[in-house]
């Protein structure tokens, strides 16, 4: 079985290095970071932290070099999905492609380029600390299922889940993977932009009564949009938000969008709150507060282009 990772940043590297441990899986990685790619090819792809792993991965900056594969795992930032899949789609002419990205709307983009798509949500996290070397911060589960409009077969989804699980990335194959995806989406959309706009850590947002209410108002809009689509969340985002605010969990965590804002990198707002708002418009559910934070974050991004 041959798997190509599209976007070999932190999350992509977790899948790549772990899958490369299996004798029956050949792993390729497509990434535009030349130094990272060269380091992977010379020394292997190394993970430290939650697991110590070195994977034999064949990396390239040229998607045209990818051989035909059984599976693609797309792990780019959301805004890079269109260009990444446009370049790599020929390698998946006879394969299935799975998104493990943040937000919503990625599978729709993949389906414009490939025949069989898998919807995925993943919770492990890490960060690239040097070319070819990723710090594995958090272990966690992944859930995958067929993307309804252009589905991969159940057998394919199960085959990918089995390989990931055997590789040390516990993955569950389900018929409808929207529940975990929207649970993660609602959690992120209710907390990330507030952290980014106030510069406060997750715990400090949650202990401010006014901001905590605002979080709940954003959660409620997201739940309404999910319900209108017939999506059953697999857990209550409110409980997860309060759990994460505990000092022993993620009180001091700076949301990834806050990290993006501090580094003046484009955020994934269009696929988080912007995604909730888009699905809301499609299903006739008003999302005024998600619209508001989307506009504020996009305004913030626009301010970086100014002097």
């Amino acid at each position: 079985m041959r798997v190509a990772i599209v976007g070999c940043g932190a999350v992509g590297s977790l899948f790549a290095a772990n899958l490369a441990q299996l004798d029956d899986v050949e792993v390729w990685a497509f990434d535009l970071d030349r130094q990272h790619v060269e380091a992977i090819n010379q020394h292997g792809l190394r993970l430290s932290g939650a697991g110590e792993v070195v994977g034999n991965v064949r990396a390239t900056t040229n998607a045209g070099e990818l051989p035909p594969g059984d599976f693609g795992i797309v792990a780019t930032k959301c805004m890079h999905t269109p260009s990444a899949i446009a370049a790599s789609a020929p390698a998946f002419a006879n394969g299935a492609v799975c998104s493990v990205q943040n937000g919503v709307g990625n599978e729709e983009v993949l389906a414009e380029h490939v025949e069989r798509v898998i919807r995925g949500t993943t919770f492990p996290a890490g960060r690239v600390i040097a070319p070819g070397h990723v710090q594995w911060d958090v272990k966690g589960d992944t859930t995958i299922g067929p993307f309804e409009p252009r589905p991969a077969s159940v057998a394919e989804v199960e085959r990918l889940a089995d390989a990931c699980t055997r590789a040390g990335m516990p993955t569950q194959a389900v018929a409808d993977a929207r529940g975990p995806q929207w649970r993660k989406l609602i959690f992120n959309a209710a907390t990330n932009p507030i952290g980014a706009l106030t510069r406060l850590t997750h715990g400090r947002v949650c202990e401010d009564a006014g901001l905590r209410r605002f979080v709940s108002e954003l959660v409620d809009e997201g739940k309404a949009v999910a319900a209108a689509q017939g999506i059953e969340l697999d857990a209550d985002p409110e409980e997860l938000i309060d759990h994460a605010a505990r000092p022993d969990v993620a009180y001091d965590h700076k949301a990834s969008m806050l990290q993006d804002v501090e580094a003046r990198r484009p955020t994934e707002i269009d696929y988080m709150n912007g995604g909730i708002a888009r699905f809301g418009r499609e299903y006739g559910i008003p999302t005024p507060l998600n619209d508001a934070v989307t506009a504020l974050i996009k305004g913030l991004e626009a301010s970086w282009g100014q002097t």
């Binding site: 401010d208 901001l211 996009k298």
Partner: protein, 306 residues
């Protein structure tokens, strides 16, 4: 009316008043910092931009000379009105006190310290403080003033006339609330959005093309404010959205004070501006989810550095 004007607070607005009025009256600028008073005493206040001159007010950090003032203009930030009014108590004789703060509530704070005749004012003029003794005068828009409680209208008229004579724009009106609420809604929106996005008041604030454009949020905030004003029985003098569109078309890319405060990590006036509207909405039973969100976010942003 010309028997001595004191201006409390040497920010942009206080400096513009003090420099201009010094050309037609005896003016003292009451500063907080000794070096500020020393710079103004030595160099005067240079005004550039819309005007070009050096005003020569006296400058002091001591309110003792206030006793004979005919007019006191309280031009501090809203957060500092309490301290300014405390200085007036026991110092000021029979003079008139004019407040020009953003938002709501400055008049009541002054009243709690004395029974002086008071004028309410809002000012639309703006500028940039380049140094303690130099202000760039950016927008030469008017100051509107009206009697507060039982002050006489002719005091508002003569004060407006004095301000006009000094080279600034001013207009007296019997009831300030329609003008004040227009500005309140404008500032509650524009200042809050600028503070959160880092954008000066530029074309983004009027953009409506895509659903995620900032203009939709700005208009939504202003519509909430207009509904609150309506519930309070106030008919606005100007439509805040039109004020917004006009200001962005002028192309001055004004940096609202709340954005400057956030960037300098100072306390903002959000409690007196956006917060005042949110409290009014609660009191009147009007929904204000967007204003409430902006208010909470700015308070959160303050908490990140205060």
């Amino acid at each position: 009316m010309t028997d001595g004007v004191w201006v409390i607070g040497g920010g942009v607005i206080g400096s513009l008043f003090a420099a201009h009025l010094s050309r037609v009256a005896e003016v003292t600028l009451l500063c907080r910092r000794p070096e500020h008073a020393a710079a103004v005493a030595e160099n005067g206040i240079r005004i550039s931009g819309r005007a070009d001159f050096v005003g020569r007010p006296e400058a002091s950090i001591d309110p003792a000379g206030l006793a004979d003032a005919g007019l006191v203009i309280v031009a501090t930030k809203a957060n500092d009105v309490e301290a300014a009014a405390a200085q007036l108590e026991g110092s000021l004789g029979a003079g008139t006190v004019m407040t020009v703060q953003n938002g709501l509530g400055a008049e009541q704070v002054v009243r709690s310290h004395g029974a002086w005749p008071q004028l309410s004012a809002v000012t639309f003029m703006s500028g940039t403080k380049l140094a303690d003794d130099h202000v760039e005068y950016v927008l030469d828009t008017p100051t509107w003033l009206a009697p507060y409680e039982d002050a006489r209208f002719d005091v508002a008229e003569s004060t407006a006339a004095l301000i006009v004579e000094s080279g600034l724009k001013a207009e007296a009106m019997p009831d300030l609330e329609p003008a004040r609420w227009s500005k309140l809604i404008f500032n509650a929106t524009v200042n809050g959005v600028a503070a959160l996005t880092g954008l000066p008041h530029d074309h983004h604030f009027a953009e409506l093309e895509r659903p995620t454009d900032l203009g939709h949020l700005v208009r939504g905030l202003m519509e909430e404010g207009t509904r609150i004003a309506g519930a309070a029985g106030i008919s606005l003098r100007e439509d805040p959205w039109e004020m917004n569109v006009l200001a962005t078309q002028r192309g001055s890319r004004h940096y609202p004070s709340m954005l400057e405060d956030v960037e300098a990590r100072r306390p903002t006036e959000v409690d007196f501006i956006t917060g005042a509207l949110v409290r009014a909405a609660e009191r009147l039973g009007v929904g204000a989810p967007l204003l409430t969100a902006v208010y909470r976010l700015v308070k959160g942003r303050e908490a990140s550095y205060l």
